[in-house]
C-alpha cells in the first residue's frame, strides 16, 4: 500500500494516466500468469484422474476445504516476511468454512416409506445411496404460485440452515428432482414425534421426563430467538424425538426472522390450539412471546396427554382460553382493548376482580399433580399479556426445573417402538397451521361470553366459566 497519498481525488491527471497505464500492464501480466497457472492446474487435474468434473457435479459429497488463494499471496508477497513473527503471537478467530454449490439430485436417495403428509409437504424415510444413512426426505409443496418459489419454503430453508442446534432438526442439504419445482429437504431422521408418542402411551410422561422434554424444547427455542427466528408453529406433532431421548424442533414452514421493533406480520400463524391470544385478537405486531404461549400449551399437553385448548374455531379458541385463564382486564393486560378483534369482545362486568399474583395463577384443579413451581411456570407461559410471559431464557432458569424430581437424564429415557420407522405414521387429529397468503378473517367475538351473535345456548351474564359447545 502506498501511504504517501491519502486522497484519491486530487492527483495530477498526467501522472494518474501513467500510473493507470502501468497498472494495466501489470494487470495484463498478472492475468496472463493466472491463466497460465490455471492451465497448469487444469492439466494437472486431468492427470490426477478424478478431475474437476466430478466435484462440480456435486456427486462427490462434501466440497473440498478452502485453500489459501494464490492471488492473495501474489499481491502481498512483500508483506509476508515482516508479518510472520507477529502472526505467531495473536490468534485470530476464524470463521466456519462454508461454500456454495449446485444442488444434488434426489436420485441420490432411495425412498423407503412414507411417514406423513403435513401442510407443507410430504415426508418419507429414505436412504442415502452413497452412505447408506437413513434420512427424512421432505418434499416441499410448490403450488403454481404467481410469486415464484414460495417464500415460506425459502424461509424454512433459510432458517433451518441458520439454526444449527442440538435441539433443532438438522437440515443436511436441499436436493432437486428433474423439474424445477421438485424440491426436497434432506433432514436427520428421528423415530418419533411427540404427538404420536403421547397418543400411544398409556400413562403420561413422568414429571422428571416432562422436565427433560421441556428443557430441550425451550433450549432449542432459546437458540432460535437468539438468532431472531420465530418458529410460529410449535406443537407436539412438530417436536421430534429419537430413541436416545433427544428432542428436536422441526417444521420451519412458518418460521421467519423478526426484528426489533417488531415488523408488521400476518396473524395467521400457529396451529389454532397453540395460538396465542394476541394473535387471535388480531395483533399486527407480535414477537417471540407467541412461541412461549405455544410452549405453555405443550407443557399442559405433556402433563395430561391431551391438547390443552382444543377450540373448534377462532371464537371457540378464545372462549376456551378465557375459560382457563379468566378473562383479560386492563390490569393484567394493558392495551388489549385496542387490538382489532377485541372491539367486539364483551367481557363480564365482574372481571376486574384482581388476583394477588401477576400473572394470575391458573386454576389448580386443571393440573392436580403439578407442584406449585410447575403451576407457577405454566401460569406465566399462558399469561394473556404477552409481556408477562417469560422469555425462553427465563423459562430455562425457572425453579421448576431445579426442584425434585430432577430432569431425567436423556440416556435413561424410556424408548418406544417407532411409528415412523416402519409404517405410515398416523394422521394426526391436530388441526393444521394456517396457509400462507390467506386473508385474516374479521372475527366477531361478541359471542365469547355468551352474547347474542354467537347464537349459542349460553345464559346471558354467566361470565367466563361458560362453555361453548
Amino acid at each position: 500500500m502506498s501511504a504517501s497519498k491519502s486522497r484519491w481525488a486530487d492527483e495530477d491527471p498526467e501522472t494518474e494516466a501513467i500510473i493507470a497505464a502501468r497498472k494495466r500492464e501489470k494487470e495484463e501480466k498478472k492475468r496472463a500468469k493466472a491463466e497460465k497457472q490455471r492451465q497448469l492446474e487444469a492439466s494437472k487435474a486431468q492427470t490426477d484422474g478424478d478431475g474437476n468434473d466430478q466435484s462440480r457435479n456435486g456427486d462427490s459429497g462434501p466440497p473440498m476445504k478452502r485453500r489459501r488463494l494464490s492471488n492473495d499471496a501474489d499481491t502481498n508477497d512483500a508483506e509476508v516476511p515482516e508479518n510472520a513473527e507477529k502472526k505467531k503471537q495473536t490468534t485470530l478467530l476464524r470463521f466456519p468454512v462454508r461454500e456454495w454449490g449446485t444442488c444434488r439430485h434426489v436420485d441420490n436417495f432411495e425412498r423407503l416409506n412414507h411417514i406423513e403428509e403435513g401442510s407443507y409437504g410430504w415426508v418419507s424415510r429414505a436412504k442415502d445411496i452413497n452412505t447408506g444413512e437413513v434420512v427424512a426426505l421432505k418434499k416441499l409443496k410448490i403450488e403454481n404460485s404467481p410469486d415464484g418459489f414460495p417464500v415460506t419454503g425459502l424461509r424454512e430453508i433459510q432458517t433451518l440452515l441458520e439454526a444449527r442446534h442440538a435441539n433443532v432438526v438438522y437440515l443436511r442439504e436441499v436436493v432437486m428432482g428433474n423439474k424445477m419445482d421438485d424440491v426436497y429437504l434432506v433432514m436427520d431422521f428421528l423415530e418419533h414425534d411427540l404427538k404420536a408418542l403421547l397418543d400411544e402411551m398409556r400413562e403420561p410422561f413422568l414429571p422428571s421426563e416432562i422436565k427433560t422434554v421441556l428443557l430441550q424444547v425451550v433450549g432449542g427455542l432459546e437458540f432460535l430467538h437468539a438468532q431472531w427466528i420465530m418458529h410460529r408453529d410449535l406443537k407436539t406433532s412438530n417436536l421430534l424425538m429419537n430413541n436416545r431421548g433427544e428432542i428436536k424442533i422441526a417444521d420451519f414452514g412458518m418460521a421467519r426472522y423478526y426484528g426489533d421493533p417488531p415488523p408488521k406480520l400476518t396473524q395467521l400463524v400457529v396451529t389454532l390450539w397453540y395460538r396465542a391470544p394476541e394473535l387471535l385478537l388480531g395483533a399486527e405486531k407480535y414477537g417471540p412471546e407467541i412461541d412461549m404461549w405455544s410452549i405453555g400449551c405443550i407443557f399442559g399437553e405433556l402433563l395430561t396427554k391431551e391438547p390443552l385448548l382444543q377450540g373448534k374455531n377462532e371464537v371457540d379458541q378464545v372462549s376456551k382460553i378465557f375459560d382457563l385463564t379468566g378473562p383479560p382486564n386492563s390490569q393484567i393486560w394493558p392495551g388489549f382493548r385496542s387490538l382489532p378483534n377485541a372491539k367486539s369482545l364483551r367481557l363480564p362486568s365482574n372481571s376486574s376482580a384482581s388476583s394477588s399474583s401477576d400473572p394470575p395463577l391458573l386454576p389448580r384443579s386443571r393440573f392436580p399433580y403439578l407442584t406449585n413451581a410447575g403451576l407457577g411456570l405454566i401460569s406465566e407461559l399462558l399469561a394473556l399479556n404477552p409481556a408477562s410471559r417469560p422469555t425462553a431464557r427465563q423459562c430455562l432458569a425457572h425453579p421448576y426445573f431445579r426442584e425434585d424430581p430432577r430432569p431425567k437424564p436423556k440416556e435413561i429415557f424410556p424408548t418406544f417402538p417407532s411409528k415412523a420407522g416402519m409404517e405410515k405414521r398416523r394422521r394426526h387429529h391436530t388441526p393444521e397451521a394456517p396457509k400462507h397468503g390467506q386473508e385474516a378473517p374479521e372475527l366477531d367475538f361478541a359471542g365469547v361470553f355468551g352474547g347474542a351473535p354467537g347464537g349459542d345456548t349460553g345464559e346471558v351474564g354467566a361470565g367466563f366459566s361458560l362453555r361453548l359447545g
Partner: protein, 299 residues
Amino acid sequence: MTATGLKQLSNALATPDQLSNSSSSIDGVPSDLETSIRVAGAQLTQTAGVLLGLSQDIIGQAIVIFTRFWLGADGEAYESTRPRYDVSAAALYMTAKLSFQPTSPRSVLNVYTLLCSSDTSPLWFVNPKGAPAEAPAMESYLLTEGEYQSARLTLLRIESVILRILSFDTHVALPHTIALTYLQTLGATRPAVARRVVEHLNAALLSPQLLYVTHQPNALAVAAIYLAAREDGIKLVDGNWWEVFDVDREELGFLVVGMRSLEGFMRREMEQWKNKTIPLLVDDVDSEIERRRMMVEGE
C-alpha cells in the same frame, strides 16, 4: 462464542476452483469482458434496487447472490452467455421477497424494462447518449399484459435456477452494520467517516476482485474503516487494532488495495466502453466476442 453462533455474521466463500473456472470462461467469454459484464450487472442491480425503493441491505444481498450465481453456475445448468439482466432481476426479486420489503414481479419487470432500454435508461453502459433530459413516458417502460406474462415466467424460472445453483442457501451477511459497531468500538464516531465507510462498502460490491465472495464481512468492514480513517486523516487507536476484529495485516492490505483500485477500474471501464454498450444480452455477448476476434485477426 461457538462457530454456529457466528454463522449469521459470516458468508459462504468462493472456492479457488470457482474463481479460476467461472462458467463464462468455460464458454469462451474473455475474462476482462466477463468482468465488465459482471460489474455492469451489479450496477444494474444497484440502480434497479434504488428505483424500486428497496433498502441498501436488500440490494447488497442481491448483488452478492448475483455474483455467487455467476461463479457457481455450471454449463449444464445454465448457459453462461444468457442475458445478465434477467439474472440481476431475479436475484433482486428473490432477495426482496425474503426481506421485510417484498416487491411484485410487475414492479421489478417494469423497472428493468426502463433500465435496459437504450432510449430511456440512465445507465451509461446501456444508453451511451446519457440519461434522457426528461422523465421517460410511462408507456415506454410499462409492459403490455402479454409481455408481462412471458417476462414473469422467465423471471420465476430464473429464480429457480439461481436457487438450484446456490443449493437454496440465500444467506448473505453484509459488513455495513458490523462496520458501524466497529467504528463505535474504536471511538470514531464522526458521521463523515461513517459515511465514507459505507461508501467504500457499497462501492466494493462492484469490485472486479469479487471482494464480497472472497472475504468475510468483518474483514471488509475493517478495510473500509482503515481506508476511510486514512482519507479523513483521523488517527485511530495505536497498535494493530484490526487484529481485535480478527483480521490479519495481510488480508487488510489486500482489501485496502482492492478497494482503492476501484475508482481507477471504473474510470478505465468508462473509457474502454465510451460510446458503446456493455453487452448484457446473450446476442450482444456473442457479437462482442466476434467483434474482438475480428479485431485480433485484422491486426
